[in-house]
Amino acid sequence: MIAGLKLHGGVVVAILLLLAFAPFIIDWIDKPFYLDLVTRMVILAIAAASLNLILGYGGMISFGHAAYLGIGAYSIGIPAYYGEYDGLYQLAITIIACGSFSLLTGYVCLRTKGVYFIMITLAFAQMMFFALVSIEEYGADDGLVIDLRSELPFGFSLENSVSMYYLCFFILLFFLFIIHRLVNSRFGMVIRGSAVNDSRMQSLGFPTFRYRLLCFVIAGVMCGVAGWLLGNFTNFISPEMMDWTRSGELIFMVVLGGAGSLFGPVLGTAAFVLIEEVLSGFTIYWQLYFGLFLVAVVLFVRGGLDGLLSKFSRSDK
């Protein structure tokens, strides 16, 4: 059992080490393209980890989480369009925009339950999507090209792809640490409790709505930061970033990795990005196989990769 746990923990440590040294490894094997792949993976892992906070721990199945990726990205894109490249200023806009969007929509969404919640989060994200599609000033469908990445203090430059990568990686680690502390605190107990039995929590005396709302806002802001990174990374923003299929993919990353497990979303995102990359190299019809894979994961893999790993390591003794 203890050895098994080490094996499981070992996988996590191995992945984190790989990520930590990714730029050096990629430099060594001389395939610079892979750095882009890994950077994208890390950014999506941040988004997935933030979704995991509400979906995995809080039981709030948000089908509109990609909206925050988009809002975060537009929070660089729109200032950049007006010639404002100050990174901290853009980050502040991201946090305020995502915070208020999640607060407003969360206030309505969290009054509903079950399917209604899934659909209404989806609908709000669509609302954002269509709003941006119809604003000609900011490129509508075509989006905006961002000429320069955010300027950060202390001369830290994001134009260098290795520093860009490490910024993403450290934000991922930082957020995972925050989530870890959150879910084990008193606040986290309330969130996890109301995920499975909200009415019991209320009868114990918890006004669960306000805790769930705050959790929803925290996740939204975290995902917004991922969007801030994504916009910087791609140098391009478009409503496509908050398309509802993006939200579906984020949910899949969380479930694939293991909802309600701290590192699950990282595993899930890594698997997702790699499978997508490999499949799309084989055939233009890769989405067919990807869709079937997704259905198979739902039908046959309970608890995601993280669950598989711990099952495997437990039977391994």
């Binding site: 502390r181 008193r186 107990m189 409790g193 009415s199 009868s203 114990l204």
Partner: protein, 246 residues
């Protein structure tokens, strides 16, 4: 002043009255049992008391405070705890975490984000004591789903107790229990009796007559009799309506 004072409480569903003009009182330290045949409106009454269901008319006072329109969590904060007829615990947590939640609920707000609960002795120690009291300490780290039915019922009551309630609403705590488990539960309830007011709903007549200081009989949403166990035993109307069919 009674601990719980219910005046003319009424609730109907689509024209059918589930509870009708119900008035009951529970004194401090008293165990007041409500009996009645199936469908008499007992669970509706409990739900109205806890705020799960909104009442059509009538008032509920807890310790002199009008709580008729308060939401569930506020009533809980004021000292009203309940156990559910169908066991309702937090199933993705361990036994002790369930109890810790109850303790936590009574100790201020939970906007505390950083310190792990497992390191907070005020939660862990109190919870451990309560588990020792109900005899579940050996199961403390198990998941609730691993417990037997009887143990889940015990946990349910432990969670209600951990709230240090002024008033405890027990909705058929013995439901589905084996006779051994029932006896343990009866002993347990009599051990906590006196410290807190209890409103007990139960089908098991032996248990009710053993435990109750006062009994009210609810039939078709109406209280048809209320009094000491002896009075209820001798009440002709009650015998006819309820006990007579035995």
């Amino acid at each position: 002043m009674a601990l719980l004072e219910v005046n003319n409480l009424h609730k109907s569903f689509g024209g059918i009255s589930a509870t009708c003009d119900v008035s009951i009182r529970v004194e401090k330290g008293e165990l007041h049992a409500i009996i009645g045949p199936n469908g008499a409106g007992k669970t509706t009454l409990i739900s109205q008391l806890t705020g799960d269901l909104e009442s059509d008319s009538g008032t509920v006072y807890l310790d002199g405070k009008n709580i008729t329109r308060l939401p569930m969590h506020k009533r809980a904060r004021l000292g009203m705890a309940r156990s559910f007829q169908i066991t309702s615990v937090i199933d993705n947590m361990s036994v002790i975490e369930n109890v810790m939640l109850s303790v936590q609920a009574q100790s201020g707000h939970s906007f505390r984000f950083w310190q792990p609960v497992s390191a907070q002795q005020e939660l862990t120690e109190t919870s451990h004591e309560i588990l020792v009291n109900v005899g579940l300490q050996s199961r403390s780290l198990h998941r609730t789903t691993e417990l037997s039915h009887g143990e889940r019922r015990q946990l349910e009551v432990a969670m209600a107790l951990a709230m240090r309630p002024k008033l405890l609403l027990l909705d058929e705590p013995m439901a589905g229990m084996g006779s051994d488990e029932s006896i343990k539960m009866i002993d347990f309830i009599s051990s906590i009796k006196g410290g807190t007011g209890i409103l007990l709903i139960e089908h098991d007549m032996d248990a009710v007559f053993k435990l109750a200081d006062r009994i009210s009989v609810l039939v078709e949403g109406n209280i048809i009799a209320s009094g000491s166990p002896e009075q209820i035993r001798d009440d002709k109307q009650v015998r006819r309506a309820y006990l007579g069919d035995e």
